[in-house]
Structure formats: structure tokens, C-alpha cells
């Protein structure tokens, strides 16, 4: 039967990802890794993986579990794997970070930590890829959005495989010739597959669908959208060829610019598409999540311009930290935080009021949030990210830490707003209808049986 329902474990993924976001940001503000220490320091790797895997990765997994069935108009394949996957992912990430701490000298023992963590992470992401990929393959027709998500999954697999290879190499447990040659040039590919191939490309696909839905804009398969798809597909394919060349000992590190340029072109055309979608919208006043999405896409455009500028002036390697920060926190995190704010309210609304819709008055989805408070935190977040990027470009370490602290406070504020939405804090229940304010569980799945609600 076609149709989609609440994904039971998605909110658990969201809760875990917010914990890792706050943890990573606290470490940044405390000066644990970059920019106090070099980009390649193990301490920086701890933060990078807390943010990239723990925050963005888990968030994307949770969101895709909910969203892909909507995209494919078919129920999720193997939904029972969602909980084991989350446990594998969390355990894997914690072990991986312990492995990095060992490289940094905080822990003396346990060369097995890194490969063990990478194994669990790869297994967890493998389960996710099976569920999402299986759902997409079951769809009758593959929409353009679904194709983006499919390409993103291929990149996720590539990211996990490269990460697993590096973990083996860095642990010193094995001595494989291909791994020695893969590591030096492969790090940037690992980051490229993760941040661009997987997350940005999935975000493109999801945005095309969600933006048209939230803005009441016509959902057309545009020629420019096909162009974006072709560019990201060739970019990912080029990165795949480079990864193979590196592992066979060819010196292909310099050719990483090809996939980056292709992806930058895709990003610019995507920006054009988003502007078209906003212009063609029927809904005139923008909701908070549509405002933050627009700002996130603006940050992506800035990141592309910055990368071209740094490339032309030969400063890309020196300033790569600032560029990655802008992509991670300006584009991906802002986009996802905004959608999180909307999706949590919608899921809570559907969970609480779905069974009684049409039978008695229910609050609107917008009544589950307080947009004025939410927007205050979002603006603090945006200003903090902008300040942090400028501080990184100028090399002003203390100013960066202050900005990172402000960003942490904004993230905590937004998390509190999300908890309030789950608790139906803003819903005004009538005196005679106490059941209108019975909140669902905070982040664990509710009961399976709908009849028990009645």
C-alpha cells in the first residue's frame, strides 16, 4: 500500500545528534582542537567526527528514515533495523573518538579502538544504506529528488569505506601497501565524499521536495535540476576514480580539484533553482524554517565563492578550516536545524492528533512552536557562525572561541525549544479536554498499536 507514517526511531536519531552537536561545539569553544591546534591534530579529528558523523550524519540518517518513504510513497524497507543501526553508530563513534584520543596521547592502550569504531560505524551506516536504498528501489518511479538521495547513499558507502581503510592504517595493526599510498591524498576525498557527496547531495534532493512543499511552489522537474544531478553524479564519479587511482599508487592528489569544481558548478545551479522555487511560491509570508533554509543556501553560495577565491589566490590549503566550517555550520547545519524545527513539530502533531483529526478541533502545527523564541536563537546562531568564519579567516583564535561559545548557546536554546515542542508546552488546551495535552515520549518510540491511543 502506498503511504507513509511516522518513522519510529527518527526522534531518537535526532536526540543523539543534538547531544553530539552540543558536545562538539563545547569542545570547539574550549579550544580543544582546531584552530588552537593544527587541522590535522587528533584532537581536531575528535571534534570533526563528533560534528560530521555524530551531529550531521545521525541527523541525516534519522531524517532520511522519515523522509525517503514520503519521497518514494512506499513504506520503509526493514524498519526493524533502525534501532540496531543507531546503537552500532553511537558505539562506533564513541570508540572512534577514543581511538583518536589515543593517537593524541590521552590513552596509552588500545590500538584496536580505531578499527573497532570504524567497523561498527561502517556496519551501522551499512544498515542505513540497506533500509534507504531498499526503500528507493521499491518505489514505482524514481523522482529526481530520490535520485539525489541515491547518489548520496553511494557517497556514504565510499566515505565509510575510506574511513575504515584509514582507521586500519592509523591503528598500525596492518601493513598493506595500498593503504600507505591511499592515506595522504585520500583524506580530502574522505571529507569530500562525506560533506559534499553524501550530505550536500542528499540535502539538494530533500530541499527540492521540502522547499516546494513548504512554500507551495510548483514541483516541476526542471532542466536545471537535471543539470545539477548530472554535475553531482560526474563529480562523485570523478572522486571515485581518483580514490581508485590513489590506492594503486598513482599520484592523483592534485586532480581532487576536478570533483570540487564540478560540485561547485552543481551548487551554483542548485542556488539558481532554489531562487526560482522561492520566486514561484504561493505562500507569501515565509515561515521560520523557510527563512533559515534560504540563509543556509546563501551560506552555500558564499562557500562556493570563497572556495573559488581561495583556489585562485593559492590559499585554499591554509584557509581550508574556515571553508569547511562555513560548509558544515553555515550550509548543512543551518539547513538541518531549520528543517528539524519544522519536522519535529509536524511529527509531534501527527503523533498526538492524527487519531482524532476531523473528530474534534486540534491545534495547528504552528501552534506547537513559538517562532519568536525560535527565531531569536536562529539569528544568534547565524551571527555566531558568520563571526566564527571571519575569525578563522583572520586567524583570531580567541575571537573564534567566543563565537563558538555563542553558537553553542544558540544550539542549546534551540534544543530546549524542540523539547518544549515535544512536551506540547505551547499548546493551550481547553479545560474540558485534558487529553489534548498528553505529550508523546520525548525521543523514544511510542506504542506500536494505534488502538492503544484511543
Amino acid at each position: 500500500m502506498p503511504g507513509a507514517s511516522i518513522s519510529r526511531w527518527t526522534l531518537s536519531y535526532f536526540a543523539a545528534s543534538l547531544v553530539f552537536l552540543i558536545l562538539g561545539q563545547v569542545l570547539l569553544a574550549a579550544g580543544f582542537g582546531y584552530p588552537v591546534l593544527p587541522v590535522e591534530a587528533p584532537e581536531t579529528l575528535v571534534i570533526v567526527h563528533l560534528i560530521a558523523v555524530g551531529w550531521l550524519g545521525f541527523l541525516f540518517c534519522g531524517a532520511l528514515l522519515q523522509f525517503v518513504p514520503v519521497l518514494a510513497a512506499t513504506p520503509l524497507r526493514w524498519p526493524g533495523l533502525a534501532a540496531p543501526a543507531l546503537i552500532l553508530l553511537i558505539a562506533g563513534l564513541l570508540l572512534l573518538c577514543c581511538g583518536f584520543l589515543r593517537l593524541a596521547g590521552y590513552v596509552d592502550h588500545g590500538p584496536v579502538l580505531l578499527p573497532a569504531g570504524a567497523t561498527l560505524l561502517a556496519a551501522g551506516f551499512g544498515l542505513i544504506a540497506a533500509m534507504i536504498g531498499g526503500t528507493l528501489l521499491r518505489a514505482e518511479t524514481m523522482s529526481l529528488s530520490a535520485r539525489f538521495v541515491g547518489l548520496g547513499l553511494l557517497s556514504l558507502v565510499a566515505t565509510a569505506l575510506l574511513g575504515f581503510a584509514f582507521a586500519l592504517e592509523l591503528s598500525g595493526l596492518v601493513d598493506i601497501e595500498q593503504l600507505h599510498t591511499l592515506l595522504p591524498g585520500g583524506i580530502s576525498l574522505h571529507a569530500f565524499f562525506g560533506l559534499v557527496g553524501w550530505m550536500s547531495v542528499s540535502a539538494f534532493g530533500v530541499s527540492y521536495r521540502l522547499l516546494t512543499m513548504f512554500l507551495l511552489s510548483p514541483e516541476l522537474e526542471r532542466r536545471t535540476t537535471r543539470m545539477v544531478l548530472a554535475l553531482v553524479a560526474s563529480s562523485i564519479a570523478a572522486a571515485g576514480v581518483i580514490a581508485l587511482a590513489l590506492s594503486f599508487g598513482r599520484d592523483a592528489a592534485a586532480s581532487i580539484y576536478l570533483p570540487i569544481l564540478l560540485a561547485a558548478g552543481a551548487g551554483l545551479v542548485f542556488g539558481y533553482d532554489v531562487a526560482t522555487i522561492y520566486r514561484a511560491r504561493k505562500r507569501k509570508t515565509l515561515e521560520l524554517n523557510s527563512m533559515t533554509s534560504a540563509m543556509a543556501v546563501g551560506a552555500l553560495m558564499l562557500a562556493i565563492l570563497l572556495s573559488l577565491l581561495l583556489l585562485l589566490t593559492g590559499q585554499l590549503e591554509d584557509r581550508i578550516g574556515a571553508l569547511l566550517y562555513l560548509i558544515t555550520f553555515g550550509w548543512l547545519s543551518l539547513l538541518e536545524l531549520g528543517q528539524l524545527y519544522k519536522i519535529v513539530a509536524f511529527m509531534t502533531w501527527l503523533e498526538c492528533y492524527g487519531p482524532v483529526l476531523g473528530r474534534r478541533p486540534v491545534p495547528k502545527v504552528q501552534e506547537l512552536v513559538c517562532e519568536s523564541r525560535g527565531s531569536a536563537w536562529f539569528y544568534l546562531y547565524v551571527v555566531a557562525v558568520a563571526a566564527a568564519v571571519v575569525a578563522l579567516l583572520l586567524g583570531a583564535t580567541s575571537a573564534f572561541q567566543v563565537a563558538a561559545l555563542a553558537q553553542t548557546i544558540a544550539a542549546i536554546g534551540l534544543s530546549i525549544e524542540l523539547v518544549r515542542t515535544r512536551h506540547l508546552f505551547y499548546v493551550h488546551a481547553g479545560q474540558d479536554e485534558p487529553e489534548a495535552k498528553r505529550p508523546p515520549p520525548l525521543f523514544l518510540p511510542g506504542s506500536l498499536e494505534r488502538s492503544s491511543h484511543r
Binding site: 500500500m1 502506498p2 503511504g3 507513509a4 507514517s5 518513504p69 514520503v70 510513497a73 514505482e140 518511479t141 512543499m213 513548504f214 507551495l216 510548483p218 514541483e219 516541476l220 504561493k282 505562500r283 509536524f346 502533531w349 501527527l350 492524527g354 487519531p355 482524532v356 483529526l357 476531523g358 473528530r359 486540534v362 502545527v365 494505534r450 491511543h453 484511543r454
Partner: protein
């Protein structure tokens, strides 16, 4: 068997009018899987390519006096029809007693509106509605409440049409 809606454009043409608008609005009002039977005083050649783009093939029959009957039949493969598991033979459902245009409502308002409408109706009655999205979150809710439904996108892919047959009255929660 395709069910046809009939439109006779001969009076419009006789009075010197232009029937194109009437034909297009008749096409937009077609229900999922429904065809259009057109009666015209000549062979409406230009219409065939217009209707082809909208996902309709045609059958032509010459009537007496040089007039034509054209049956535009929806090409099934263009817009697959989604059907609830228990929706046996929607062809035999009664004509819809309610027609709703929900294309301008913000999601999830169309879902609220349709469920509320279904509550107000008698078992066996049928709702017809047009939406701007496929209402994927509505389907499980309809099934849960014992309603049957059938729906698909129109040939342009911009409007979703749904017919809901109200199920037996359930005890209120």
C-alpha cells in the same frame, strides 16, 4: 472499461464561440481514470497533440453529417493510480456527493479538511478532491478509519486527484 464524461462543443461552435477553454476545463475536472467524450462538427486535429501531452490517447468515430465523436482515453501508464488495499472496484462507487478544491491549503491542512469531511458524511458516500501534493500521510489514517480511497496525479503532474469512499461509522474515540 473507461468511464466517459461527455462534452458537446457543437452548440458553442454554432453560436460562433471558441470551445478550447471549455474543453480544457472539462479535462481538468476529470476524475482519475476518467475519459472525455467530445462531440464536434469537424475532426478536431489540433486537439490530438494537446491531449497527447496531457496523457490522453484518442479513438475517433465519424457520425452522420460529417460530425465526429472523439473519445479521449487516459493512458494508464502515464499516471499510475494509487488504490487503498480494500478499494474493490472503484468504478462502481456512486458519484461523489462532495467536490473539494484543496490546492491552496498549506500542508497538512488538506488532510485535516478531508478527514473532517469524511466524519460529516454517511457510509458509502464519496468525496472527490484535488490537492497540490500526494497526501502520503493521509493514506494510513484513511485506512485506519476504514475509508477506501483511489487517487493519482493528473497528466501534467501538478494536481493530485483523490476519491474517498466513506467507511462504516466507527465509534468515536
Amino acid at each position: 472499461m473507461t468511464d466517459f464524461k461527455t462534452l458537446d462543443v457543437r452548440p458553442i461552435l454554432r453560436s460562433g464561440g471558441e470551445p478550447f477553454q471549455a474543453i480544457m476545463s472539462a479535462v481538468e475536472d476529470l476524475k482519475p481514470g476518467q475519459g472525455l467524450k467530445l462531440l464536434a462538427p469537424f475532426r478536431p486535429q489540433p486537439l490530438f497533440s494537446v491531449m497527447d501531452r496531457r496523457g490522453f490517447g484518442y479513438e475517433l468515430e465519424e457520425l452522420s453529417g460529417g460530425e465526429f465523436e472523439v473519445r479521449f482515453v487516459p493512458k494508464q501508464d502515464v499516471t499510475p493510480v494509487d488504490v487503498s488495499p480494500d478499494a474493490a472496484s472503484p468504478d462502481l462507487w456512486p458519484d461523489p456527493s462532495v467536490d473539494l478544491d484543496l490546492t491552496d491549503l498549506d500542508p497538512p491542512e488538506p488532510m485535516v479538511e478531508l478527514l473532517a469531511q469524511a466524519e460529516r458524511m454517511e457510509p458509502g458516500e464519496v468525496i472527490f478532491a484535488v490537492l497540490s501534493r500526494e497526501p502520503v500521510f493521509l493514506y494510513p489514517e484513511l485506512t485506519e478509519r476504514g475509508h477506501q480511497w483511489v487517487g493519482n496525479f493528473d497528466a501534467t503532474g501538478t494536481t493530485y486527484r483523490i476519491m474517498i469512499r466513506v467507511g462504516p461509522k466507527a465509534p468515536s474515540p
